[in-house]
């Protein structure tokens, strides 16, 4: 699971609503996966990123060189975009869990794939 994905996921346990974001990340196996750098794509993603959640997840994984916020003129700043590219797309959590911050419910990640299934009772009606 990439950190871009983590940034878009939220818990849908009944009653938590917007407090289900961000999910607390815990990783037991992480792999760095080189992905071809595409500055246009990374630049497109910057406005969609919830920065606090990204920093929290990056911190959990002990990542360094993570920009604290989008800088002015980021669209043309290759250095900034390369750092963001690495954080968002090249760090792959293979094994771990995502935890709903409100209810504590755990969603496992195995083989890089999060399992977000909940039973009927647990979800919003």
């Amino acid at each position: 699971m990439k950190l871009l994905t983590h940034n878009l996921l939220s818990s849908h346990v009944r009653g938590v609503g917007p407090r289900g974001f961000p999910l607390r990340l815990q990783a037991t196996e992480v792999r760095i996966n080189p992905v071809e750098f595409n500055p246009e794509f990374v630049a497109r993603m910057i406005p969609k990123v919830e920065w606090a959640a990204l920093l929290e997840a990056a911190d959990t994984l002990h990542l360094v060189e993570v920009p604290k916020e989008p800088i002015q003129g980021y669209e043309h700043d290759e250095k900034f975009l390369r750092k963001m590219h690495h954080v968002l797309l090249e760090v792959d959590v293979l094994e771990g869990t995502l935890q709903c911050p409100e209810s504590g419910r755990l969603f496992p990640i195995s083989r890089g794939i999060p399992n977000m299934l909940l039973s009927d009772e647990e979800t919003e009606s």
Partner: protein, 460 residues
């Protein structure tokens, strides 16, 4: 109907497959590249010859880099219902537009294509020679000419009634071919990872084109299965997400769908499929998730949602159930540890899908999905509706004598405000589709009737 000479007219030679899907594909692609669909032709129904006005050759070339419905495009220099009409039409074509391709330094060749008739070599040569009046000054080069010109003769569509003379003759400068070769190179037959309902390659590219997918988009498939639809979008440069309720399919485990193969091998998963075509860099993530209970946070981040939801025939329609339902004998997926119910009404599924699309698509983003219908009961009112989504096209593909599926394309035209605001409106609109909830029974009802009929006639 005559068009003003200042507009550039092009002739599209269409493939005679997926007839209803062709016009929406071309329209979507033209709109993607800043053109607009304008033409002087009354109907595009069954004919493979389409005359369009396109603002520039660049747009025409971009169109051909995407389309799988069109075989080739030509800059149209003349056409008519007879050779005389063709020649007179050619004489009216501005010479200054011809000259750049005919000057003495250039090389060219003239080809002739006939549709629904075969000509002898002699007949072909005669027709090419008849064009001697055109100001060709360059040299003929049959192997690698700079410019290729084509005569196209249309002898209709009925192989049992071939006319003496063609209905239409066209002459134009060949510009580019379409992407029909993708259909073979991405064929499901060669794909590493397939499922029971993997989409035919041609249709998956048509879906990506109806969805106006472009490079650097994020495309999502909530019923991703083995990822076939994602492949087409990735081929066009989009980054892809998928979810599926089936743990085994997402992980690439369990029984294989290929004949003569028992279990899925280690290279059978969605990521491997993308890797097979050199598209792994476009793989974002796949998740095990229930499309009716999505785990995405509030926001608009999908440029397109392209999907083939289950119809309940070869793959069951499911959603996660409750502990109470377990006693009713439902499938429990041991890996996911969550009871998975087998009854998810089709109409509920579309309700959820449209709402989800309205909420998470960017403005202008498209939803493309298949809707199964029981033909005897189908009416246009059954096509699911949503106040934020505009219906762009509805194309039918027959599945059997009494069932078909329709490829529905919708575009988000209005910001999504409050889910509850729309629920009661939506449920009224879905009542007409309720009858399809037993689509599985209806699909098989034809079969049982036929078997009964055959048994009866064999007894007589």
């Amino acid at each position: 109907m005559a068009l003003p000479c200042t507009l550039n007219r092009y002739l599209l030679l269409m493939a005679q497959e997926h007839l209803e899907f062709r016009l929406p594909e071309i329209k979507s692609l033209l709109s993607l590249f800043g053109g607009q669909f304008t033409s002087g032709q009354e109907t595009y129904g069954k004919s493979p010859f389409w005359i369009l006005s396109i603002p520039s050759e660049e747009i025409a070339r971009n169109l051909m880099k995407r389309t799988v419905c069109a075989k080739s495009i030509f800059e149209l220099w003349g056409h008519g219902k007879s050779p005389e009409e063709l020649y007179s039409s050619l004489k009216n074509y501005p010479v200054e537009k011809m000259v750049p391709f005919l000057h003495s330094d250039s090389t060219y060749k003239i080809k002739i294509h006939t549709f629904n008739k075969t000509l002898t070599q002699e007949e072909k040569v005669k027709r090419i020679d008849a064009l001697e009046f055109l100001p060709f000054e360059g040299k003929v080069n049959l192997k690698k000419p700079q410019h290729i010109f084509s005569i196209l003769e249309d002898y209709g569509l009925d192989p049992n009634r071939i006319p003496e003379n063609p209905h239409n003759i066209y002459f134009g400068r060949w510009i580019a071919d379409g992407q029909r070769e993708l259909i073979e190179s991405y064929s499901v037959k060669k794909r590493l990872f397939i499922g029971n309902t993997s989409m035919d390659a041609g249709l998956s590219f048509i879906m990506a084109n109806h969805g106006k997918v472009k490079a650097n988009d994020i495309v999502f498939d909530p019923f991703v299965g083995t990822g076939g639809l994602l492949i087409a979008s990735a081929h066009f440069g989009a980054y892809v997400y998928g979810t599926d309720i089936d743990y085994n399919t997402v992980h690439g485990l369990g029984k294989a769908s290929r004949k003569n193969q028992k279990w899925r091998g280690p290279d059978e998963n969605i990521r491997a499929n993308l890797r097979q075509y050199g598209l792994e860099k476009y793989y974002l993530d796949v998740l095990v998730s229930d499309a009716s209970k999505p785990s995405w946070r509030k926001g608009t981040y999908f440029d397109a949602i392209i999907t083939d939801p289950p119809y309940g025939i070869r793959e069951s329609t499911r959603r996660t159930g409750s502990q109470k339902e377990i006693s009713k004998g439902i499938e429990k997926c041991p890996e996911s540890h969550v009871p998975v119910s087998l009854s998810y009404h089709l109409s509920d599924m579309y309700f959820d899908l449209l709402n989800f699309a309205a909420e998470t698509l960017v403005l202008g983003g498209r939803l493309v999905y298949w809707l199964p219908v029981y033909t005897p009961e189908y009416t246009e009112e059954m096509v699911p509706w949503h106040p934020c989504l505009e219906l762009i096209s509805n194309c039918e593909q027959k599945l059997s004598s009494h069932t078909s599926r329709r490829l529905i394309t919708m575009e988000k035209v209005k910001k999504f405000e409050n889910r509850d605001q729309y629920s009661h409106l939506l449920s009224d609109h879905f009542l007409p589709y309720q009858g399809h909830n037993s689509f599985r029974e209806k699909y098989f009802s034809g079969v049982t009737k036929r078997i009964a009929k055959e048994e009866k006639s064999s007894q007589e």
